[in-house]
């Protein structure tokens, strides 16, 4: 073998090793089964950042007002909708929202919804001490309004820190359709991931200038179209054993009257079928941990 070929092969070997390592960090749950009589678990999740992310990104006043709709109007409509249909939802909430919209969070908790972490101010500081400070601030803030500490998160928080602080799951990645366990890159910690995918995320269909998307790249859809896309996603999973769907909403987006009406139709269609379970993410996590625990050793 020539020296050049040797170098080329080493390049390949390095990449193969990276891919294998990444593979080895993931533990999918291949035989997922829900409690007796349940075919599919549907998690309605809502990221309740209202105007916080817009503020963090220094967007102009009218953009903040667009987010404010989520706190004044949207969150209340979602709670009312879920309560009407016995749906238990998960509200991923930045800690700061407790200072802006405490009443809505109390109402969500009273109705049995889960209020989980979504970072203190929708970002994770680079400094580890400050990161821990932000996470703990959020835990304290959420507990002070809901009466219960959060066990779940949707965040970029360091996984080992989350595990250390007693979190049961992160709902962030989508390496699988179904919940899966994942090790961090340093193999320090393993955590359950409750996946959501951007194609079942309201912001991708309705939110103008989402994270700075430029005008030639806007995505503006109507509710008829989105209802059919999401219904198809549900139906595909419903036909499987151990189906799972996570519907990611934002109160400032889906709280608009036409979209609440669309979600209502979607829930009604789902509820016409037997075996559809609407738990919180925490319930899904506890079910997985108890019935499909991670492998005993790394």
């Amino acid at each position: 073998m020539t020296a050049a070929a040797d170098t080329l092969d080493r390049e390949i070997d390095d990449l193969v090793k990276v891919a294998r390592d990444y593979d080895a960090r993931h533990e999918p749950i291949t035989d997922l089964r829900w409690p007796e009589g349940v075919r599919i678990a549907v998690n309605f999740t809502a990221d309740f950042d209202a105007m916080l992310l817009r503020r963090l990104l220094n967007e102009p006043p009218m953009q903040l007002a667009k987010g404010e709709f989520g706190g004044r109007v949207g969150i209340w409509r979602l709670i009312e909708l879920f309560d009407t249909y016995g749906v238990k939802a998960t509200f991923f909430t930045p800690g700061r929202i407790c200072e802006l919209y405490p009443d809505s969070l109390r109402a969500a908790a009273r109705s049995g919804h889960e209020v989980a972490d979504h970072m203190w101010e929708h970002h994770v500081p680079k400094d580890p001490a400050l990161e821990r400070d932000h996470l703990r601030k959020t835990m304290t803030a959420l507990e002070s309004v809901t009466g219960r500490r959060p066990y779940g998160t949707r965040s970029w928080h360091t996984q080992a820190l989350l595990v250390e602080e007693g979190f049961l799951y992160n709902s962030h990645g989508h390496a699988s359709h179904r919940p899966y366990y994942v090790w961090d890159a340093e193999r320090r910690s393993r955590l359950l991931n409750i996946p959501f995918h951007y194609n079942i995320d309201d912001a991708m269909y309705y939110s103008f200038a989402w994270l700075g998307s430029s005008n030639p790249a806007q995505r503006i859809s109507d509710t008829d179209r989105v209802e059919e896309l999401w219904w198809n996603a549900f139906w595909q999973q419903y036909q499987q054993e151990g189906g799972y769907l996570n519907i990611c909403l934002h109160p400032f987006v889906s709280g608009r009257a036409l979209r609440i009406a669309m979600l209502e139709r979607l829930i009604q269609r789902m509820k016409r079928l037997p075996g559809v379970w609407f738990p919180t993410c925490e319930e899904v996590a506890r079910h997985c941990l108890a019935n499909h625990p991670p492998r005993s050793a790394a």
């Binding site: 709709f69 706190g71 700061r96 200072e99 103008f208 030639p216 806007q218």
Partner: protein, 312 residues
């Protein structure tokens, strides 16, 4: 932070559906804004913006076609007009006002005011009001800052002073805000409860974001989506007894086959009993009489704390 300043502009919770009352026991409010600007950039209308086919079309056939559809359904609208367009389309404005439509301001040249200093912005607001008054015979009571197609956000641009200057200039309402889907108070000073009533705007009911938009990239004609949005929002708001609002541009919706969609939508919506169709000013007067800020603006003091390493 004395209040939730730089985060929120109004109180913590909107009115519930059950608290909303419209005149004469009407079920739902139906309001229409027509933007009489021509396509322009952030600097506002320039000579080049006035000498285009779409600008000409919007001022003539497009406007005439739109007026005919509105007239056929007896719909009254608020026309949001930049000062420069008030001069250019003076005759049209006078006849619109005579037909019972409202004429409101939409900037001096429909420019982005976010970078203007206070004195300059104040002068433009004053001059705009005066010019519209000269043309129509009465000062506008509403001010709009409607978004332009090229804006990075589909919400409209204001400066940190705009709302305060509008109150100072005696405006009764700001035409486009996004914090609610009914009229709501935009607070400029927590301590004195200084506030201006703001009418709701949302880009999914504004024709310009659906008709050959974006003009590049993924852009295409989405007239069908726009129509479905109007219908879905109207039905949802009618059921709730709240407020439906749409924004139209003669140069966009005025194109013949798109007008047909508007015509169909208006037929559908106005078949419903108990739809109240005021101008924005009439809606605002009803609102101020029914939900005055003295009794209905529920401002609670901030519990926000400043921490090192956190947003302030």
């Amino acid at each position: 932070m004395p209040w939730k300043q730089n985060y929120t502009i109004s109180d913590e919770k909107s009115l519930a559906d059950s608290e909303i009352r419209w005149p004469g026991g009407a079920r739902c409010c139906f309001s229409v804004t027509v933007d009489l600007s021509v396509a322009a950039g952030p600097e506002g209308i320039r000579a080049a913006d006035l000498t285009t086919g779409p600008a000409y079309f919007g001022m003539h056939e497009g406007l005439a076609g739109l007026r005919a559809v509105l007239a056929r359904h007896g719909v009254r609208a608020t026309f949001a007009v930049p000062a420069v367009m008030a001069r250019i389309q003076a005759d049209a404005l006078r006849s619109l006002a005579a037909e019972g439509h409202e004429i409101a301001a939409n900037g001096f040249r429909h420019e982005d005011v976010s970078g203007l200093d206070r004195a300059e912005e104040k002068a433009r607001i004053e001059r705009t009001g005066a010019i519209i008054a000269e043309v129509t015979g009465s000062r506008p009571v509403g001010w709009y800052s409607l978004p332009r197609q090229g804006d990075p956000f589909a919400v409209g641009t204001i400066s940190p002073n705009t709302m305060d200057l509008l109150i100072e200039a005696g405006y009764e309402y700001m035409g486009n805000g996004l914090a609610d889907d009914i009229p709501h108070w935009w607070v400029t000073d927590f301590a004195t409860r200084r506030a201006i009533l703001t009418m709701p705007y949302y880009y999914h009911f504004d024709d310009q974001w659906f008709l050959m938009f974006p003009s590049k990239g993924t852009g295409l004609e989405h007239a069908d989506s726009l129509f479905r949005n109007w219908r879905a929002e109207f039905e949802a708001q009618y059921r709730r007894g709240r407020h439906f609002h749409m924004v139209l541009h003669p140069r966009h919706v005025g194109w013949a086959h798109r007008l047909q969609l508007l015509d169909e939508f208006l037929s559908h919506a106005l078949r419903h009993p108990g739809v109240w169709n005021p101008t924005a000013a009439e809606c605002v007067r009803h609102w101020k009489a029914t939900y005055p800020k003295e009794t209905h603006l529920q401002l609670s003091p901030s519990v926000w704390k400043d921490y090192p390493g956190s947003l302030s």
